[in-house]
C-alpha cells in the first residue's frame, strides 16, 4: 500500500489545501497519473500517483493537509510482476553475475518530486543552493552526480584545478539546460544613464566604486518594485519569489564565466556593494569562491559595458526567472523637448523565462531601473 502525499514544493511551504480531485474515489489509477490539485500560498499544483492502484481519498476537497500528509491511499490492485518473482524466488538459482545490471537504476519518481540524484550530489546541491530540477544528470540512467552540481566544494580539499573543471562543467551544463528548456523573451530599452554618470563623477578617486556597483544598487532596488522577476522557478512550475534580492553578477574568469552572489543587495549601500563585489570578483578570478558564494541568487546582472557592447541577449540562468544585460554607457543624440541633445545612454535588456513571467514585467523593470538611476547617490557614502 502506498500513499499520495503532499510534496514539499518550496522550503517555506508547510501545508496545502486540497483544491480539486481529478479522479473519483475508488478509481484505478496508473503510476504517474495526475490525481489531485492542491493550492499552496504560491501556486496551484497537480500531484500524481506514484504507483498504480486503487485510489482511496483521505483528504476531501477543501481540506488543509500538512507537507508529507496523506491525501489518498493507493491499494495495490494486483500483485506486481516484481513481487510475484520475489515470492517465487526461494527456489530460484541465483544468477551468477559479477555486478548488478544497469537496468537497476531507478526511473525518476513522481509525487515526492525530484530528479534522480546520488546522495552525494543531493548534499552538494543542498549546500550550494543548486536546484536539482535545473540540472541535467550525466550519470548512468540520467542520474545527477556530483560533477553535475559543480563537483566537490573547494573546502573539502580537492585539487583546485579539478574543482575548477568541475565548476565549469556545472556552469556549462546549466547554460545548456537553460538554453534548451527556457523559452526566452527579451525586453530591451535604451535607458537614460544621466544618474549613472552623475554618481560616477561623485565617486572619490580610489574609492573603487564601479558602474557595475551602481547597476547592482539600482537593479536591486528596481527588483523591489517588480518582485515577480526576483524569483526562481521550481520544477513543478511554481514560481517562488524571494523577499530579499540576492544578485548574481556575471564575472569573466580565465576558466569561463562564474556568477558569485551579492546577498541582500537591496539593503547595501554603494560602498558596501563595491566592497563585496570587489572581494567576490577577486575570489572568482583566483578560483577560490566557495559553494555558498555561488548559490542562492535570485536574479543575475551581466554588465559588458567595459567592452564596446551596446546590446546583448543573454541566456537566463535557470532556475532564476530573469537576467539583466547591460551594455556600455555612451553619449547619443536624443530628442529633448523637441531639440536635439547629447545624453549618456545605456542599453539594458531584460531576458525572461516566459513560462514564469511576461514581457510586461520586463517593461516595468526597465522603467523602475531607469528611475533608480536617477536616485543613485550624487555622492558616495
Amino acid at each position: 500500500m502506498t500513499a499520495v502525499l503532499v510534496p514539499q514544493l518550496s522550503l517555506s511551504m508547510e501545508e496545502a489545501r486540497v483544491s480539486r480531485w481529478l479522479v473519483e474515489d475508488g478509481a484505478a489509477v496508473r503510476a504517474g497519473q495526475l490525481v489531485v490539485e492542491v493550492e499552496t500560498d504560491k501556486a496551484t499544483v497537480e500531484i500524481e500517483a506514484q504507483a498504480a492502484g486503487v485510489l482511496r481519498i483521505v483528504a476531501r476537497e477543501g481540506a488543509i493537509v500538512a507537507v508529507d500528509g496523506v491525501l489518498a491511499e493507493l491499494e495495490a490492485a494486483l500483485p506486481s510482476a516484481a513481487s510475484q518473482e520475489r515470492a517465487d524466488g526461494a527456489g530460484t538459482a541465483p544468477v551468477p553475475v559479477a555486478h548488478a545490471a544497469e537496468s537497476a537504476v531507478l526511473a525518476p519518481r513522481a509525487g515526492r518530486s525530484g530528479p534522480v540524484a546520488s546522495p552525494a550530489a543531493r548534499r552538494v546541491a543542498r549546500e550550494r543552493g543548486i536546484e536539482l530540477a535545473a540540472v541535467r544528470g550525466s550519470g548512468p540512467g540520467g542520474r545527477i552526480v556530483t560533477r553535475d552540481v559543480g563537483g566537490i566544494p573547494a573546502e573539502e580539499g580537492r585539487a583546485s584545478a579539478d574543482g575548477d573543471d568541475r565548476l565549469r562543467e556545472a556552469v556549462v551544463a546549466n547554460i545548456a539546460a537553460s538554453w534548451q528548456q527556457i523559452p526566452h523573451v527579451h525586453i530591451g530599452a535604451e535607458l537614460a544613464a544621466d544618474g549613472v554618470m552623475r554618481a560616477r563623477a561623485a565617486v572619490a578617486p580610489g574609492a573603487g566604486v564601479t558602474v557595475t556597483d551602481m547597476l547592482v544598487v539600482a537593479l536591486a532596488r528596481a527588483l523591489g518594485e517588480v518582485p515577480e522577476l526576483n524569483a526562481v522557478r521550481r520544477s513543478d512550475g511554481s514560481v517562488e519569489r524571494s523577499a530579499a534580492v540576492h544578485l548574481s553578477i556575471a564575472v569573466a574568469t580565465a576558466g569561463g564565466v562564474v556568477a558569485p552572489v551579492i546577498r541582500d543587495a537591496g539593503s547595501l549601500t554603494l560602498a558596501d556593494v563595491a566592497r563585496v563585489r570587489s572581494r567576490l570578483v577577486e575570489a572568482a578570478r583566483h578560483g577560490t569562491l566557495d559553494g555558498h558564494e555561488l548559490s542562492g541568487g535570485t536574479c543575475t546582472l551581466s554588465n559588458l559595458g567595459a567592452h564596446p557592447v551596446d546590446f546583448f541577449a543573454p541566456v537566463v540562468s535557470g532556475p532564476q526567472v530573469a537576467m539583466v544585460a547591460a551594455g556600455r554607457v555612451t553619449d547619443r543624440p536624443v530628442a529633448l523637448d523637441g531639440l536635439l541633445g547629447i545624453r549618456p545612454r545605456m542599453w539594458v535588456n531584460v531576458a525572461l523565462d516566459h513560462r514564469a513571467a511576461d514581457g510586461e514585467a520586463g517593461g516595468r523593470l526597465l522603467a523602475a531601473l531607469e528611475r533608480q538611476f536617477t536616485l543613485l547617490p550624487g555622492g558616495t557614502a
Binding site: H99, S118, P119, A120, A159, D162
Partner: protein, 331 residues
Amino acid sequence: MATTAAPITTTLTMSEAINQALREALDGPEPIMIIGQDIGPYGGTFGVTRGLFEDYGEERIRDAPLCESGTVGYAIGLAVTGVRAVCEIEFFDFVGVAMDQIFNQAAKLHYFTGGKLTVPLVIRTPIVARMGMGPQHSQSLESWFMHIPGIKIAVPSNAADAYGLLRSALVDQNPILFVENVRLYGRRGEVELGEAIPFGRARIAREGTDATVVALSGMVDEALVAADRLAERGISIEVIDPRTLAPLDMETILDSLRKTMRLAVAHDAHRTLGFGAEIAARCMEEAFDYLDAPVERVACLDVPIPCTPSGIESVYPAAADVVAAVERLVA
C-alpha cells in the same frame, strides 16, 4: 635469525616473512608450540614452516594427525594453560571441520568465563584460490569469521604486512585467524624486521582521487594493476588494503570515500555475504551522503569453484573487473 634490536630491512617472500616471524616467537621466552598437519619435517604443504622442525625440534614443531577439529581443540587447550599455540590448517577450506572449536570455543572462552581464560592462539591458513584444485580447495571464507565476535582476523597481502601482522598476532592474547594466500607466498617484498604492525590499521596502497577500491589479499595486486590501466585513461583510484578484518579500520575507508565519493570492494570470496557486503552496508550507514554511486563489489561468482582453467578465469575476479567496476562508478 635471532631477533635484533635495530630494524633491518631485507627482501623476503611472504612465505619467508611468515617463517621469520615464527622463528622470532620461537626464540622468545614464551612457551610456544606450532601444530598442524605436515608442518614438521615436511616444512608445510606450501613450505612456510620449512626448517623450523630442524631448528626447534619435534616437541615445539608438532605434526598432528589428520583431525582439524581435535587439533584446534588441543591448540586451545595449550593456549588456555600457558602455551601459545600456532595451529596451521592446511587449506582455508578445511576450517569447516574445525568450526566448533574456532567459533564456539576459541572465540568465546574469554567472554563466557568473564575474562578468566585467555586464548593466545593463532590459526594460520591459506586461501588456495586460482590453483585449479576445485570446489573444496579454493575458497576464501574470511567473512564467516567476521560474523563472530571474539576472533581477530588478519589478511596480509604482501611480505611486509605478513611479517608485521604475524608479529603482532604472536603477542596478542586473543584467538586470531591469520589468512595467508598461496598465490602470494612467493611474492617478494621489503620487510622491516623487528617492526610489528598493529591490527586495525588499513594501508593506503595507492593514493587517488576519483574512486576508492578496497581490496583484500590477492586482489590488492589486481587493484594496483587496474589502477595503472585506469590512470592511462585519466582515472585516478585510491587502493586501500584493510589488512585486518577484525578489528577493521573503517575510518580510513570512510575518509577515502568522503574524498572520492565512489567505492568498490574487491575480494576472492563469493559475492554474496563476502567482505564487500559488510563494507557496502557500513558505507551506506555511515557515509550515505557521500555516495555518488552505489558501492560496487568485485568478487568471485556465486558458484562452486570449478577446476577447469577456463572456469577459474570466468569465476574469479581480476584487474579487468576492477577496471570495469571503477568505470561504472565514474560513469
